[in-house]
């Protein structure tokens, strides 16, 4: 573990002790199995207690964890015969967004996703998952293709937000995001959106107009980053913890607000601790939801999607 989060320190200390005991036992030839087992159980307990009781800001940190599996990991583990397709046919290929075709449970699907890098070098190349208009236009192109060939769309969301730069504005960041939302709202094939890390603002919503919105247990999804919220509303970006609570950003919050449809469990300690298990759990959730959606007539599918987003925010019929 190269990147330990502050609140995971007690777990890390136990793990170091376990390692020391193992080493000692090996070197001196003394049987310490009992002692090690006790410590391992203790570590599991502590991890369970910490992860069972995370606050919103801690969830943000897990969602942004540098070792958290990115969309490529899920694509490689969940789809067979995956072929990545590139470019928006207008300007360039945006490396912050990946898309392509492959099979899910043997069934042809289109995949679109934000794409963060695994290390600093790759993150620089992928602009930390912050897309330019070309990224959204690539996704729009692939979604329309999915509609043409009657393939469901699986969209992975993992971005701090759309990139706020000069080129992005010059090439119509607003128009690209709006068109992506419109394309999804009208698409005549099933769409499942899965938030696998952080979903930030309009850049995330551009892939989020699905028939189902799934969120991993420790994923977050918000209108703006907690830092941005604190600095705009309170002129104090250091109040990010408070902002994360106030905004309601966790998967559990969004399920309660009727925005997320389902929470996909993660292995204890977060997806980064056991990526394979995490992918397996995402796969199971996708299978269940896709099976429900595949039989539905396209007109009804689009009408239901409309109803779903039309009701967003009307909590308990608060509005009239």
């Amino acid at each position: 573990m190269s990147a330990t989060l502050e609140f995971e320190r007690p777990i890390q200390e136990l793990e170091i002790k376990i390692d020391e005991l193992r080493k000692f036992s090996r070197e001196k030839g003394i049987d310490l199995t009992n002692e090690i087992t006790i410590l391992e159980n203790r570590a599991r307990e502590v991890r369970g207690a910490i992860y069972g009781n995370l606050n919103s800001w801690q969830k943000v940190l897990i969602a942004r964890h540098p070792e958290r599996p990115n969309a490529y990991y899920y694509i490689k583990n969940l789809f067979t015969d995956f072929i990545e397709l590139h470019g928006d046919r207008c300007f360039r290929d945006d490396p912050s967004v990946a898309g392509g075709i492959g099979r899910f449970n043997g069934y042809p699907v289109t995949v679109i996703s934000h794409l963060k890098g695994k290390d600093t070098k790759e993150n620089l190349a992928r602009n930390f998952g912050m897309a330019h208009p070309e990224g959204y236009r690539k996704a729009i192109r692939l979604m329309k293709q999915a509609e043409k060939f009657k393939r469901p769309v699986i969209a992975f969301i993992d971005t701090p937000g759309a990139y706020p730069g000069m080129g992005a504005e010059e090439r119509g960041q607003s128009e690209a995001i709006a068109k992506s939302i419109l394309t999804m709202a009208a698409l005549r094939v099933p769409i499942i959106s899965v938030v696998i890390g952080e979903g930030g603002s309009g850049g995330a919503l551009a892939f989020g107009v699905g028939d189902r919105i799934l969120m991993q247990e420790h994923a977050v999804y918000s209108v703006i980053t907690p830092e941005g919220y604190a600095s705009i509303l309170w002129k104090d970006s250091s109040r990010n913890r408070e902002a994360a609570e106030a905004m309601k950003v966790t998967a559990q919050d969004l399920l309660a607000l009727g925005v997320a449809d389902q929470i996909v469990p993660e292995p204890l300690g977060g997806a980064h601790r056991e990526p394979e298990t995490a992918a397996d759990l995402v796969g199971k959730a996708l299978t269940a939801n896709l099976n429900e959606l595949l039989g539905i007539d396209a007109d009804i599918l689009v009408a239901n999607r409309y109803k779903k987003f039309r009701a967003m925010g009307n909590l308990d019929g608060l509005i009239e």
Binding site: E169, Q173, S174, I181, L182, M312, I319
Partner: protein, 283 residues
């Protein structure tokens, strides 16, 4: 050289906040750009545009409606719909009260039906006096209902956008209003109905990246700030100052994102001409 210097000085001046609103009727107003002293009634008569330099003062929702629709034809929809405070935040409640007092509006969006040179239209106007016309759940709801009214009534839709973006105090629910309003526009699209989007100062964030960007015809007012990201955020990201005119209406037009820039004094007649060209059946 001296002339050059003065000219540069003049252009460096940023567009200040319009001041007309805070000054009681009948008082003189100073133009935000050229410093001309204008009699405020005279300014109102000219659609709140400075006669000397063409500066467009911000207009309130009802001023906009009066400038756009034929007198006495406006029928407001959902007048009494009040904003919701989904997380029961005291801080947000205070802001809503203050916004209500300042603007005299229940929400940042006024919607309704009326006639524009005789053409029946559905109209949506955002008022930046109310919390920078940020889009929360109820603003989104009013806009979606207006779009649905245009679909059902088979009427053209005109939206005057002005917004700082999403209403952050309503968290993720405010973000979802982008999807809600855009999905409603898809119905209008399928109904074959005209949608004219008029971008006024400022149209940014979630509003610029949803319904405002999707007009069949997109008109911008001169000098209006239009863009996705805020200028300060961009400057912090790229660590340099933005050039003069960046994200202004003229910039958007030259980059291909608006059809035309129309001075407010010409707006009503331009809208009427477009509406007439879209008349169906009878000609």
């Amino acid at each position: 050289m001296v002339l050059e210097f003065f000219r540069k000085q003049k252009y460096i001046a940023v567009q200040p906040e319009p001041v007309s609103r805070d000054i009681p009727e009948g008082i003189w107003v100073k133009c935000g750009r050229c410093n001309e002293i204008i009699f405020s009634k005279e300014l109102d008569k000219n659609c709140k545009v400075c006669r000397k330099c063409g500066f467009h003062f911000r207009a309130s929702a009802y001023e906009r409606i009066a400038m756009t629709l034929d007198e006495g034809t406006f029928k407001e929809m959902d007048v009494d719909m009040l904003p919701v405070n989904p997380f029961q935040s005291a801080e947000y409640e205070e802001k809503l009260q203050a916004a209500r007092k300042k603007s005299g509006l229940n929400e940042a969006v006024v919607t309704g039906e009326g006639a524009l040179q005789g053409f029946e239209v559905v109209i949506v106007v955002m008022d930046s006096t109310y919390m920078m016309a940020s889009m929360g759940t109820v603003a989104g709801e009013k806009i979606a209902r207006a779009i649905e009214a245009a679909v059902e009534g088979q009427k053209p839709l005109i939206i005057f956008s002005a917004s700082g973006g999403a209403r952050m105090q309503e968290g993720i629910l405010s973000l979802m209003q982008m999807a809600k309003t855009v999905a409603a526009l898809d119905k209008l699209e399928k109904a074959g109905q005209l949608y004219i989007s008029v971008l006024t100062d400022p149209t940014t964030g979630g509003v610029s990246a949803s319904f405002a960007a999707l007009g069949d015809i997109i008109i911008a007012e001169p000098g209006a700030l239009i863009g996705f990201a805020g200028q300060r955020v961009i400057e912090q990201t790229i660590r340099q100052k933005l050039p003069e005119g960046f994200q202004r209406a003229e910039f958007l037009k030259s980059h291909g994102f608006v059809d035309m820039i129309v001075a407010r004094t010409e707006l009503k007649s331009t809208l009427a001409k477009i509406l007439e060209l879209h008349l169906r059946g009878e000609n």
